[in-house]
């Protein structure tokens, strides 16, 4: 099975390390992935506050492109790492499906651009693909440097599991936990897995947004986590990049490494720090997984 890859704007800038590490992980597991040609913004949150209809059209264009690029395959699976994009595209797909009025307008609009959408597109999050499409043993056997002794707080954020929790349990999601355990890490039990990190408020109304991030950081530390694993560029940015300001605002006890779950997986799969964009982290992970076995140079090229 081959997948198309929709980066979304953030994975090309603040979330670059997510893109780098996810591609590395997919390479390590030989999962073919092709970037969607000329993809456009998903019309998430901010855009949708101005025009929902156009937001849907933006998504629909991506669907049309995907189906075109996929040729006559009966389904185009788009892997969407960014939570906001994942939700935006998913929502558009559903609304186009459930509201014929919207569908008609959007179809007309696509036609105006010489495009068409045939409901063959499926929106998949990397967590979904890695856990539900692949044999865990195959992944386990690819682990060359188990994350032994690393305590991870798995943070899913909101928009991956809500409101469309179709690939994981909504209140207590498990896919990332599974992956982290497969990597040999220890998953700490914490109740804030899906609590909001503040979203774009951390930048706009900082005193409000950053407090939400603070709650997460502090609780993760309390539960004895060494690192918070995230699955969303905005969550990662909020939880990591504002730690200084958060410390100043709400007192310390809030400094903890925040990495993408794909970065942690990459480490276990023996990819190099550079390949995984570790150097882009503000708060260094400060953990080196011990080598499990002697492996060919191309594995531990770090």
């Amino acid at each position: 099975m081959s997948y198309l890859y929709y980066p979304g704007c953030s994975l090309k800038s603040t979330g670059r390390a997510f893109e780098e590490s996810m591609l590395a992980v997919f390479r390590a597991l030989d999962i073919p992935l092709r970037e969607l040609d000329d993809w456009n913004c998903c019309g998430a949150t901010a855009y949708m506050s101005v025009s929902e209809l156009k937001a849907f059209a933006l998504c629909a264009r991506n669907f049309a492109l995907a189906e075109a690029q996929n040729g006559d395959d009966d389904r185009a699976d788009i892997v969407v790492p960014c939570a906001a994009c994942y939700l935006g595209l998913n929502k558009a797909k559903r609304y186009l499906d459930e509201h014929p009025d919207i569908r008609r307008l959007v179809d007309d609009a696509l036609a105006a651009g010489g495009l068409s959408y045939h409901d063959h597109t499926f929106i998949r999050h990397p967590l979904d693909v890695l856990v539900n499409d692949f044999d865990p043993d195959k992944i386990r056997t690819s682990v060359v440097r188990p994350l032994a002794g690393l305590k991870v707080a798995c943070y899913y954020g909101c928009q991956i599991v809500r409101p469309y929790a179709d690939f994981d349990e909504q209140h207590d999601p498990q896919t990332m936990d599974k992956l982290m355990r497969l990597m040999g890490a220890e998953v700490v039990d914490w109740p804030l897995k899906t609590r909001c990190c503040g979203g774009s408020l951390t930048g706009t109304v900082q005193e409000v947004g950053q407090q939400l991030s603070y709650i997460l950081l502090r609780e993760a530390k309390r539960r004895g986590a060494d690192v918070i694993a995230t699955a969303c560029p905005l969550c990662q940015f909020n939880l990591e990049c504002y730690q200084k300001q958060i410390g100043r605002r709400f007192g310390n006890g809030a400094s903890i490494p925040v990495a993408y779950f794909t970065q942690l997986m990459g480490l276990a799969l023996g990819r190099s720090d550079r390949e995984l964009g570790m150097q882009r982290l503000f708060v260094p992970l400060g953990f080196k997984p011990p080598v499990k076995e002697v492996v060919g140079g191309e594995h531990v090229s770090a």
Partner: protein, 210 residues
Amino acid sequence: MEKWQGWRKMRYEADLDHDFASEIASIPGGEQLYSCIQCGTCSGMCPLSQHMDYTPRQLIAMIRAGLKGEVLSSYTTWLCASCYSCTVECPKEIKLTDIMYAAKRLAIREKVYPKRFPIPVLAEEFFRCVESHGRNSEIWVLLKLFLRTNPLKMFKMMGLGFKLWRTGRISPKRERIERRGELKAVLKALEKEHMVKGREELAGAGEVGS
């Protein structure tokens, strides 16, 4: 505590907008509005309600009562981070997040959102950027945002900006798609005056007040 400014809490029927509720209920996702039992689950779930001028539950009550002015000029909708906690837990399956969006769109269209409040401004800038380039370039959007709301903030953020630049997480380069003409054509087709004949009656779909 705000000091008393001689306001009156009395609401005369004549002051209320009795079509407001049905206007909101008519948007996709607004269907369930009328079944609200005011249980407050939404407000309790909401991680931001503590910072809102009206809790989500109150907002629903105000929409149904027709307090259009207060709803559209409130901070509540803009503080919604769309985490969908309310939507998934509402016992009556009211899609509050979608209703918040609907209110935001109305507020922007009618230019009644709180002035100099960064969130709606961000929304507008983000929208413009994507309209013309097909993608979002964070740095430019943020620049515009600070200029329009609080230029001083820019200096506050410089340290962070520098660090992001050093770690290669932002660049001044404009992100844009190849076939911008194609995208423009698509988006234009959704503006009423350019709509395919006979579609005007659908123009309401997915848009409040458009």
